[in-house]
Symmetry: C2
Subunit: 202 residues, 2 copies
C-alpha cells in the first residue's frame, strides 16, 4: 500500500512544530516535507532542515521543469514543495506531513486529493495568537502584524480542512494530532480501492 | 460541542458487530442507533436491542410523520432510522454509530453529512465472506445467496466511504475501528466552525 499525505496549516505561532515534535514518537514512520524558499534564512534556520534555501533563479528553473507539487509567492518570496521526495516517500509507504498555508493546501488537494487528510491548527483565540507571537519575538513588529493579518484571512478557510485542532494545551493538541496522523494512514486512493474491488471476487 | 455520527456499512458476515463489541471499551461514550424494521425477528433477536420490530402500518405512519432520518425497502421489508434518538444523542455530545447499508449511508450523508464519518467493513475476499456466512448458518441457503449477491453490489460503493476496514483479523480491524471512531468525534459541523471563526477574533 502506498503512503498518505497529512497537510497541516495554521498561522505561524499556532504551535505546529511543537505539536509535531511532541507527537513524533507516536505516529510511526513519516517524512516531513521540507519546503523550498527564496526568502532569507532566519537566525538558527538551517538549509535542508528548516527549508531548502535557493535563489530566485533556481526556483524559477524548478517551476519551468515542473518540479513543484505546489508553490506560491508570499510577501515577495517563493515557497514551494518539490514533488520528487513526496512521491518517493509515498512509494515507501510513509506518511508525508506538510506544513503549508491554506493556498498550498488547496493546490495539494487539487493534485493529490486522493492521498490527503488535512488539519488546521490554531490557538483558541486571536488574542492568544498575538500573545504567543510577541512572546516568541523572533520577528520585527511589522512582520508580526503581517502574520496576524494573514491569520485573520487564513482562519476563514477553516471549513476546507478535514479537522481543526485548537491548540489550547500542547498535550491535548498532540493527542488529537496523533489520532489524526494515524487515521490518515488508513486513507486509500481511488486506484487502490478499484484494485481491491477487482481482486475481491477472486 | 455536539456529537458526531459514524456510519458503518458492509455485507452481513463482515463482522461489524464483533468489531464494535471488541472496540467498545476504547471508544468512549456512544449511542448505537437501533434500526426499525418490519421484517420478522430471527431466533434470539430482541425488540429494542437488535431492532425495533414494527408492523407495516406502524412503519408507514412513521414515514408520513417524518420520523425517519433514512429508510428503505430491502427484500420486501422496511428498514429505517428514527431521527429523534439520533438528535438527542448528538445533543448530549455522543458519538452515534449506525450499522446501515450503502443506500442508508447515502441518505444519512445527504441529510447530516456535516456530522458523518463513514467506514465500509468487509472480509478480505468474497470467498472468505461466503465461508463465514455458511459457517454462521443462521440463515437458509437462499438467504445466504441473496446476501452474497448484495455484497457483490455493495462492494462497488466502497469509494463513497471515508475509510475501508478489511476485517482480516478481529484485533487489527478493531484497532482501526477504534482510531476511526475516536477521530470521528473531532469532526465539527459547518455551523460549529462558523461559530468558532466568529468568536475567534474576540
Amino acid at each position: 500500500m502506498r503512503g498518505a499525505i497529512l497537510v497541516l496549516s495554521g498561522p505561524s505561532g499556532a504551535g505546529k512544530s511543537t505539536i509535531i515534535n511532541h507527537a513524533s514518537p507516536n505516529i510511526g514512520d513519516y517524512y516531513f516535507s521540507i519546503s523550498t524558499t527564496t526568502r532569507e534564512p532566519r537566525e538558527g534556520e538551517e538549509h535542508g532542515v528548516d527549508y531548502y534555501f535557493v535563489t530566485h533563479m533556481e526556483f524559477e528553473e524548478g517551476i519551468k521543469a515542473g518540479d513543484f507539487l505546489e508553490y506560491a509567492t508570499v510577501h515577495g518570496n517563493y515557497y514551494g514543495t518539490s514533488l520528487k521526495p513526496v512521491n518517493n516517500a509515498l512509494d515507501e509507504g510513509k506518511l508525508v506531513i506538510f506544513d503549508i498555508d491554506v493556498q498550498g493546501h488547496r493546490l495539494v488537494r487539487a493534485k493529490m486529493g486522493d492521498y490527503v487528510t488535512s488539519a488546521f491548527i490554531t490557538p483558541p483565540t486571536l488574542s492568544e495568537l498575538e500573545k504567543r507571537l510577541y512572546a516568541r519575538s523572533t520577528d520585527e513588529n511589522s512582520v508580526i502584524e503581517r502574520r496576524i493579518d494573514n491569520a485573520k484571512e487564513e482562519i476563514k478557510a477553516l471549513n476546507e480542512f478535514d479537522f481543526i485542532i485548537i491548540n489550547d494545551t500542547v498535550e491535548e493538541a498532540s493527542k488529537q494530532f496523533t489520532m489524526i496522523a494515524n487515521v490518515a494512514r488508513l486513507k486509500q486512493s481511488a486506484e487502490e480501492l478499484e484494485n481491491f474491488i477487482l481482486h475481491w471476487e477472486n
